[in-house]
Symmetry: C2
Subunit: 268 residues, 2 copies
C-alpha cells in the first residue's frame, strides 16, 4: 500500500505540489483495482457493523472539493457494500434563511453522527471558510477566527467519541472542464448541470488559494486533512476506501463482551 | 413472478390466513434466488437514480413486524446496491420525552423523504396503534380515531408526491424463539438482544390481533399494506425487492427533458 504521509496536510503542505493526475494508490490493472475496491467496501461494511455493535464511537467523513470533483461518486463506490442502516449522508447546499439566522456551525452540529454510525458530509462547514473568503464577504481576521472555531468544534467531536476523517478531492481545471462538458452533452446527466458551476469555475485560482489556507489552518492532530488526487475516479475511490479502512482498523472495534447473566438462558 | 394480490390487505383480509412459512416469490435454487435479489437491488439503484433525476417525487417504505422479524436485514439486502446518497433509514424507538410532548405523528412528519429520495422507516407511526392498544393505554374509540388520522396523514403524503409502500414482516412465534435464542447464544450477536423482547413476546397473540385491526383499518388505495411471509429471510428480501421494483417501474420515472438553452454550449 502507498503511504498517506505525502497527502496528509501539515504546516508546510502546498496544495499546488500535489498532482491531481497522480494515482499512487492504484495497483495492477483495471480489474485488479475494481476487485480491490470491492474488497475494501466489504471490509468497511464489516467494520461499520462492529462500530455499531461496540456502541460507543462514531465516524464522520468530510468530503470537500470543487464542483464535479466526485463527492457523490465517492459515496456511491466507497459505500457500495454498506447497509444504509449504518451510513448516512448529508449534502450541504447554500444555507437557507433559517440556517443563515444561526452561526454557520449550527446546521452541521445538528447532523453529527450518532453512536455506531458513519456520517458523510458532502460539503460541510468548510464551505464557510471558502465561499465567503473568495467572495470577499469576510476579511482575513474573520477567516482566522473561523479556522479556530472549526478546530474547537472538531475537538469537541473527537473528545466525545467521533473519529473525524477529512478528504479534499483534488482535480484540475481541465478535468473539471471535461466533466462539466459531459454533463451538458449527455441528456441523462444534464439535470446535474447548473449555470452557477460556470460562475464558480471562473474563480478557480481564488478557490485553490482559499483551500490552501483552510487546509493548513484546520489540519489538526485530532482531525487531519488528506488531499486525494482525484482526476482518476478509481484512484480517488481506492485511496479514500483505504484511508477509511485503515482508520477504522486502528479503532480496534469489537462487540461488547458476552453478558454472563444470559449464559444458558432459554427462550420459551 | 407470483401475484401480490393475496398479500395485499383488503377489507376481508385475515393475517392468520397467511402462512409465515410461505415462499411464493422464491423461484429456483438458493443460487438463483441470490442472483435474482442482486439483479433487483441493481435495478432499484437505477430506479432511485431516476427518481432523483426526475426531481419531483419521493418514496416511503414502512417496515413493521415483531422483534426479529427482519426489518434490519431487509434494509441491508434490498438496498445492498443503492448509494447511501439516495436511501435513508429512520429507526423509530420508544418515544423520547420531547417526542411524547407532541402528537405521535410529529416525529414521523419530521423525517418524511425529500424529493428524489427513498426513505425507509424501521418501525413507524404504526407503533402508536400497536403498543398502546396491547398495553391498554388507549381504548377502541381512540384507536379508531388514530387509524383515521394515519390515513389522513398518508393521504397528505401521497397527494404531495410521495409513493407509500407498507410491508408487515410476518413471522411466527417459533421462528422468533429461534432467532432470539441465536442472539443469546452467539457472542457477536448478543448486543442485539434485549430482555424487553422477551416481555413483548409474552403478548404475541395480542400483538397479532392489534396488527390485524391496524392493517385492515389503514390499508388504503393510496397507501396499501402488504403482508410478507418472512420466516424465510430470502423470501422476505426477494418479495419486498420485487414489490419496490414493480412500484417504481409503475411510476414511469424519467430525467427531465434536455434544456434547449444548453444545446451546443462549450465549457471554457
Amino acid at each position: 500500500m502507498a503511504s498517506f504521509k505525502k497527502y496528509r496536510v501539515g504546516g508546510k503542505f502546498r496544495l499546488s505540489h500535489i498532482d491531481p493526475d497522480d494515482t499512487p494508490f492504484c495497483e495492477g490493472d483495471e480489474n485488479a483495482q475494481r476487485t480491490e475496491l470491492d474488497a475494501l467496501a466489504v471490509e468497511l461494511d464489516e467494520l461499520q457493523d462492529l462500530l455499531n455493535a461496540e456502541g460507543k464511537r462514531k465516524l464522520l467523513l468530510v468530503l470537500q472539493g470543487m464542483d464535479t470533483s466526485g463527492k457523490d461518486g465517492t459515496v456511491r463506490w466507497v459505500f457500495s457494500r454498506t447497509s444504509p442502516l449504518g451510513v448516512r449522508v448529508t449534502a450541504f447546499k447554500a444555507p437557507t434563511v433559517d440556517e443563515r439566522a444561526r452561526d454557520y456551525l449550527w446546521r452541521c452540529h445538528a447532523v453529527v453522527p450518532r453512536t455506531g454510525e458513519i456520517m458523510v458530509w458532502n460539503r460541510s462547514h468548510y464551505e464557510d471558510v471558502l465561499v465567503p473568503v473568495v467572495e470577499g464577504w469576510i476579511d482575513k481576521a474573520e477567516a482566522k477566527r473561523r479556522y479556530a472555531q472549526i478546530n474547537d468544534f472538531e475537538r469537541l467531536l473527537t473528545e466525545t467519541g467521533t473519529v473525524v476523517v477529512k478528504c479534499m478531492l483534488h482535480i484540475d481545471k481541465d478535468e473539471q472542464r471535461e466533466r462539466l462538458q459531459a454533463r451538458i452533452d449527455t441528456p441523462g446527466k444534464q439535470w446535474k448541470f447548473s449555470m452557477d458551476d460556470l460562475e464558480v469555475r471562473t474563480k478557480w485560482s481564488a478557490y485553490q488559494q482559499a483551500y490552501q489556507n483552510a487546509l493548513v489552518a484546520t489540519s489538526t492532530d485530532h482531525a487531519p486533512w488528506h488531499v486525494v488526487p482525484a482526476n482518476s475516479k478509481r484512484h480517488r475511490n481506492v485511496m479514500i476506501a483505504q484511508l477509511l479502512v485503515k482508520t477504522m482498523r486502528q479503532m480496534k472495534l469489537k462487540p461488547p463482551p458476552p453478558d454472563p447473566a444470559l449464559k444458558g438462558m432459554i427462550v420459551k
